[in-house]
Structure formats: structure tokens, C-alpha cells
């Protein structure tokens, strides 16, 4: 366990008890200029890293605040919706009871469109349908990601009080499973605003400890609860689960409304190879954080 290094801790300022080491270091200095340069460079890198992490933590805290703020209004919205429904139902009931002899229309036919599944050519534009499609897809892919994490774990890693599962990318790639992960991340990127997607992907679910990537299973399970601002943009996704046993992954996603979304060209169909580095950049994935298999130079 790492001990605290608080300058106010008086124990840190007590007289150093091993004089011999001190005398020895004075007698024969071990560091030459090159070694001091190396150490100074390491210090600079670590200081920069600390500053970056502090900035990221601030962004994370802001995102969490934004998300929790929207959650505060949920009961109000639900109450308003209930009130509206109650008033509407009462109105309909009153209308029905005050017009004797008029019977409400009965549905006699079921539209055939309802049974047609969306394809790459058909692009549904209703935001409700899109929302439910995305939610459904999100649910499927979340489950799949969790299955992946369950299939390739170094089971039993309990770090920092959470259940983490090490992701063996080499094994995933060998089994043809990386597309599960790839399409999962793709969907998150396409669905959420960039800052929320960053939070979900980098801070919430995945954790890198000593160079090993872990999936936090508990947090992945809670992904469904992350609110999405559906009215801000419309995303159409279809055929996302079209994966055969080879190297083909077919999915299609189109961002339509919001120009701020960093996915101007999301249509990727029938890809038989990996993403190129340029495509990864265009999709807004940061090179340092994507799995290696997403890049093919």
C-alpha cells in the first residue's frame, strides 16, 4: 500500500537515521550528468502526466455532474407525464360517455411494415424508432461485451474493490471476437456525445492498470442507465449485428442532425479488413486508447 507523503507529517522531517548512506553518497557520487538528465526527463514526463490526469479528472467530475443533474429532474418529468396521461384519459373517457351511440374505431388490419426489419437501404427517420433501435442494440452489445469479458478473463482479479476482468485481446483476435468489442465501442461513440462517450469508454468501463486493460463488469452493467440526449441528434443504425464467421462485420450508422457530432461519415459497410489509422482518427478514437487490432497500416 502506498504511504502518504504529506509534508505536514512531522515523521517525514525527523533526523535521517542512516548516516552511513549519506556519507557514502557524499564520498562517492554515483550519478553522472547523463543519469541526472535521464532522471530530470522522467520527472518532467511524470509531472505532465499528473497534470493531464488532473485535467481528465476535472472533466470526469463535470460529466458526472451533468449526468446527475439530468437525473434530478426525472421524477418531475415522470410526474408531469403521469398527470398528462391521467388528464388525457379522463378527457377521452368523458368524450366517450357524452356521445352515446358512437363506438370507438376498432383496428381491423395490421400494417405489414411493422414486421419488416430495417435494412441498410431503409433508413428510419423517426426518432422514437431510432431510440428504441439504439437501446435494443446497446442492450445486445452490452451483453456481448460482458460475454467477451466473461469469456476471456483472468478470473478473480479484484482490484481497488471492484470486479475487474482482464481482457485478453490476443485470444479475442484469435477467436474472431474483436468485432464484438469494435462494434460496441463504435456504437457508444456514435450514440453518445463525445465527452460522455469518453467517460463511458475510458473512465467507466475500461480500466488500464500497469498496461493491462480490464473491463469493470459492474459498471458495464450500469451502462443502460446512462442518459442520452436523444433530441440532440438522430442516429440510424441497422444491421449492426451482421457478423459472419469470417472477417466481415457489417454495420451502418448515420448521424444526421447535429453538425457537432464528430462522425460525418459513419457509413462502413461490408468491411473485410481492419480500420486504418486514418479512419480511426476520423472516427475520433484516440490512438493511444484503441486496441492494437483496430489499426492496420
Amino acid at each position: 500500500m502506498k504511504r502518504r507523503m504529506n509534508p505536514d507529517d512531522r515523521n517525514l522531517w525527523k533526523e535521517w537515521d542512516d548516516r552511513m548512506i549519506e556519507e557514502l553518497a557524499e564520498c562517492v557520487p554515483a550519478l553522472d550528468d547523463a543519469a541526472k538528465d535521464r532522471i530530470e526527463r522522467l520527472c518532467e514526463e511524470k509531472m505532465e502526466l499528473r497534470e493531464t490526469m488532473n485535467t481528465q479528472n476535472t472533466i470526469y467530475a463535470t460529466n458526472v455532474e451533468n449526468i446527475t443533474r439530468t437525473q434530478r429532474y426525472r421524477p418531475l418529468i415522470a410526474a408531469a407525464a403521469c398527470l398528462l396521461l391521467t388528464v388525457g384519459a379522463a378527457g377521452v373517457f368523458m368524450m366517450g360517455t357524452h356521445r352515446p351511440g358512437v363506438t370507438p374505431p376498432v383496428a381491423t388490419d395490421v400494417p405489414t411494415e411493422m414486421t419488416t426489419e430495417p435494412t441498410a437501404e431503409t433508413q428510419p427517420n423517426h426518432s422514437d424508432t431510432n431510440g428504441s433501435d439504439i437501446r435494443e442494440a446497446l442492450h445486445i452489445l452490452t451483453e456481448r461485451a460482458m460475454m467477451v469479458s466473461a469469456d476471456y478473463p483472468t478470473k478473480g482479479e479484484a482490484l481497488e474493490g471492484t470486479s475487474l476482468y482482464e481482457v485478453d485481446f490476443a485470444q479475442m483476435e484469435a477467436d474472431g471476437s474483436p468485432y464484438d468489442y469494435a462494434s460496441f465501442e463504435f456504437l457508444i461513440r456514435a450514440t453518445f456525445t463525445p465527452d460522455v462517450a469518453d467517460w463511458v469508454l475510458n473512465d467507466s468501463i475500461y480500466k488500464e492498470i500497469d498496461g493491462v486493460l480490464y473491463i469493470d463488469e459492474e459498471k458495464a452493467a450500469h451502462l443502460q442507465g446512462v442518459p442520452v440526449n436523444w433530441s440532440a441528434f438522430t442516429v440510424t443504425i441497422d444491421a449492426i449485428t451482421e457478423m459472419d464467421t469470417g472477417n466481415t462485420c457489417t454495420f451502418r450508422a448515420i448521424a444526421t442532425d447535429d453538425p457537432a457530432i464528430q462522425f460525418p461519415d459513419l457509413t462502413v459497410e461490408d468491411r473485410t479488413d481492419y480500420y486504418t489509422a486514418q479512419q480511426v482518427d476520423e472516427l475520433g478514437w484516440r490512438l493511444s486508447e484503441k486496441p492494437e487490432y483496430l489499426v492496420k497500416e
Binding site: W13, W16, L31, I39
Partner: protein
């Protein structure tokens, strides 16, 4: 440079302040870290740990109040603690199951050791250090570099502008001299204990 001067420099020009601290205390921190880690760590690990020490000091520089003691004692304690943390991390990485006390000698006595033995060991350590210092240059430097910094004869020769063979020869003579002086003190080096 005094502690106050260093703090003033840090506030004026942090980069220069950082370099100045490394210049002033780099060797001390390196020796402390090396003393804890040399049994298990590579040179890169040791330099990494040394940089961790300085980063901890730089980070805390804004909240320093030097009334508690000197910067030197503060840095030394940070170095010792950071080195022990690094030792734990490296041991975990290497699947070492031993305890720190088994691999690295510390001030703590073992369970079997009596207080008298502890004092005796400390005195022997002190006496050995006095003898090493009394050897005179370049023998003192050769012995320290060879047995504390664990440098090779070639590395020592390069640092002292001598051939590796000359370093080796001087090292043999120095050890012989140390043995004679220890025996004159009544120390039986074959048993590893005072007689």
C-alpha cells in the same frame, strides 16, 4: 543552496528549481534507493524510483513549511519510503513471495537477534565503514563502487580513468587490507561474527 533559496527558486523558475534539487540531492536519493532495491531491481527501475521521489517532492513543494526540519531529511525519508513501495511493486511483478526484511537489510533486528547482537552488528557496520574510508583513494572509491553500487571493474575503470585490470588488482589488495584490519579488531570474518 539553502532550503529557503531552493523554495524561492522553485517559485521563480520551477524548471531550474527542479534541476537544482536533482543536482544537490540526486546522489543521496540514488544511494538510498539503491540500498533498498539493488537486490531486485534493474538500473532503469532504480532511476524510475529516484524520479518518483523527486516528483513527490516537487508536487509537495507548494505546501512546504520548512519549520518542521530540513529539506534533506524530508527528501531522505521520502526516498526511503518510496523505495520500499517500489520494492513491493517489483516483488509483486516478479512473484517474489519473500518479505522485505529477507531481501534487504534494514535497521530492524531479526526475531532471533538479541539487543546486544543488534548493537554489535551496528558497531561492526560502522567499523567496516571507517576502515573502508581509511583505505585512501582510489581504493575507497573502488570498494564502494564495486560493493555498494555494484559496478563492474570496467565501469569503475572508466569513471576513474584506470584500466579494468588495475581496478581489479587494487580491489584485491583493498579487500586484503580490510580483512587484516578487521582481524586486528578481533573480528572473525569466516564466521561472520565478532569473537
Amino acid at each position: 543552496m539553502t532550503d529557503q533559496e531552493w523554495l524561492a527558486l522553485m517559485h521563480k523558475d520551477a524548471k531550474k528549481g527542479r534541476r537544482a534539487l536533482i543536482e544537490q540531492y540526486g546522489n543521496l536519493v540514488y544511494a538510498i534507493v539503491l540500498n533498498k532495491l539493488k537486490a531486485s531491481a534493474s538500473r532503469e527501475d532504480i532511476e524510475d524510483c529516484v524520479s518518483d521521489v523527486f516528483v513527490a517532492v516537487f508536487t509537495a513543494a507548494d505546501s512546504f513549511s520548512l519549520g518542521h526540519g530540513t529539506l534533506k531529511t524530508y527528501i531522505s525519508t521520502i526516498a526511503k519510503r518510496t523505495a520500499i513501495d517500489a520494492w513491493r511493486k517489483i516483488s509483486y511483478r516478479q512473484n517474489t513471495t519473500g518479505y522485505l526484511e529477507e531481501a534487504v537489510p534494514t535497521e530492524l533486528p531479526s526475531e532471533e537477534e538479541t539487543p546486544e547482537e543488534t548493537v554489535s552488528r551496528s558497531l561492526q557496520k560502522q567499523r567496516l565503514w571507517e576502515i573502508v574510508r581509511s583505505l585512501g583513494e582510489p581504493d575507497t572509491t573502488i570498494v564502494i563502487r564495486q560493493y555498494f553500487y555494484e559496478q563492474t571493474a570496467r565501469e569503475i575503470g572508466k569513471a576513474l580513468s584506470m584500466t579494468a585490470a588495475a581496478v581489479q588488482k587494487r580491489s584485491v589488495r583493498a579487500r586484503q587490507r580490510i580483512k587484516e584490519l578487521l582481524e586486528a579488531d578481533g573480528y572473525d570474518y569466516r564466521k561472520g561474527d565478532a569473537v
